[in-house]
Symmetry: none
Subunit: 212 residues, 4 copies
DNA sequence: AATGAATGAGCTTTCATTCAT
DNA sequence: TATGAATGAAAGCTCATTCAT
């Protein structure tokens, strides 16, 4: 649906340039968050960044490239968080795994909820070419983890479907809960319920009680 | 986040007008689905509708108003489906209720998946003033239903949180599953798992087996 | 080297439109003549035409299309002049034919010398798709005419080469002479010499004397 | 029609500078030939020359100055060729003179036909201030030569007009023939005819046969 | 009421030129 | 002097909206 986007037109080697690229990205993010895709245009971005349009185009081949960069950056951060959560998994009980994954998801969505909203929804099918393992890799990671903890799973569980479902359940519920959250306590409550739901769905016995 | 949108500039009272308004909406929907928000502009809509731009502006105060109308219409339809599902609930078992709700959601998302995708994602925070029962009303209906079937629920269940969670679980999972569905069978499988998940989360005992 | 150019985006049916298209073309021609291709831009053209840019684009798909239109119009006029000269040829002597062709060329280049200069030189390889018989057809017409008057030609004349050469001789000499002419008398003198040159080159005997 | 262009902002006295100026000119010529005036911009030129834009502006006051330099250089070369041809004229017959001049013209146009095309056509009225002997000097040289060979000329020949005409005839015909030449043989044929034409126009008797 | 030609602000992008390093 | 990052005016084109017919 969308086209080209090579990472960067020109690598910013000098400090001044690094600073500029960053200023441009920050401005772009701010406009995206405050005005949505509709209010996003290269002139405003450059102005807000305190930079000339020309400079913007020195580092970003097009408006699309700039957006793609931002999207990639954001999802790279998310992926990072999950990777860390994943690596910190010791041979514990499945319940603990669930908790860690959900918490990682919450943390990820709290990085910048409004930006995340725009990037996943408004720009949901704006394709970023690159190393786009993000979504799939996460789903795959979940599937792999489920296989690893197979012994603790309900016997009749169809693991691929369960992975798919768990992924959407967590991703979407956390996403909307964090974004539309009215109060932090409320969010916490829903997140806790989410953990219970997942656990009761996946685990052999209703060992839900210990989750919290 | 967005501005004006009074329901209708002028109520189309004459038959011909009703026809025009409809033609415009149909054309708008088609363009939205085929070209996304990016390809959507009042001139094309009018042309596709076989109507002059002037006429479009006779019935829709602005581009935004037209989109708002479409969004409202679509979500009204969805709500309608749920209302029917809700009303057809007889004093059955909770499992049956869950199945009915999920199926209603699937039906709703199958009304026009691509349109739904654009309206909920691309135009996700495009606000429609509306008699806003839609989202909340659905969540409220779920909550009310849960209270009605309290006896069959897990004792320690926090009903408001459960309603919220159930709503997001169903809405988002079904949405993404229907929209990104690769094969119908696959979709069915995931939907079945969804029912099991919900049931195992809500119900006193793991009576999941009977769900299908 | 250049791309698309469909005649007109939209046929100007109403009088107002015809007027507009014409005003735009006139303005475009004036700018082309006064500022050359370098100073030619759609905003200026529209402004000079007393019309909005939008209107310009309503009738001309692009800057290029507008230029192509003008080029086509101009060369159509030229072709017309030659056609008339061609048709007025009675079975006279070759000298008379030469005179008529050269005069037609002079008239053609006098239609709008500066415009002609820009269209043939600066925009020389800006390709106009359409019925581009202009150049070739003229050369072919000359060749055909030479065959018709073969009896009066020098015996050893290679007609295709002679046609090619005559074409360039007349076209280029007249072109430059008219455009760079310092005084009308001077131009006339050169044109007369040109007729003599052509005649003495083509004709069996040096009957050049009668040319004037 | 165009503005400023002082010969050189600064005389490149040091060896390295001479080298730079040359590199820039070569790059400019290459771009002009490969991409035409449209693709010509100082940034690309500098890059292709392996030099910074800043340096380009150290030696050329503006884009126009650079083009002017190139144009002057090219026409200086042409003039040189003619000067040599002119000087090599011994007291021969007029026919030989004609042949030498035409051949010199052909050689001149073959120096760099594509560059020549752009400089004379696309940049035809791009004015170079120059010590302008170029065009006129050539025409004057022809006129002088004709006076020198007056005895062999047709009695009724108006020498100034004949010089003017001969100049255009040769210049334009050769130019177009060399540039649009489809095959070398074809070009040679036309060039031969050109010599015949000129000779039969200028000389007392139709001694065309000996030309080749 | 309906039409659709006309408008022009606004957006993306380019490129000649400058100037801090 | 050389560099090349930065500038910003300017150009091509679109499209929401108006208004004369």
């Amino acid at each position: 649906m969308k086209k080209d986007n090579f990472p960067l037109k020109k690598q910013p080697v000098q400090k001044r340039s690094v600073f500029m690229v960053d200023a441009i990205k920050q401005a772009a993010i701010r406009i995206l968050k405050e005005q949505g895709l509709a209010g996003f245009n290269t002139n405003s971005v450059a102005e807000l960044a305190g930079v000339s349009v020309g400079s913007l185009y020195q580092y970003f081949a097009s408006k699309e490239t700039l957006i793609a960069e931002i999207k990639r950056d954001h999802f790279d951060e998310l992926r990072q968080l999950f990777k860390q959560a994943s690596e910190s998994l010791t041979s514990e009980k499945l319940e603990g795994v669930v908790v860690k994954f959900v918490d990682a998801s919450v943390d990820a969505h709290r990085l910048d909820p409004e930006l995340h909203r725009i990037l996943s929804d408004e720009l949901g099918n704006f394709e970023v070419v690159e190393n786009d393992q993000s979504k799939d890799s996460l789903k795959n990671a979940i599937e792999a983890t489920l296989y690893r903890y197979k012994a603790q799973l309900r016997d009749d569980l169809d693991i691929p479907s369960a992975a798919h479902l768990s992924y959407y359940l967590v991703e979407k519920t956390v996403h909307d809960t964090v974004i539309n959250s009215k109060s932090p306590e409320n969010t916490d409550k829903v997140i806790d319920e989410l953990k219970i739901m997942l656990t009761s769905y996946l685990c052999k016995r209703g060992v839900n009680a210990e989750v919290k």
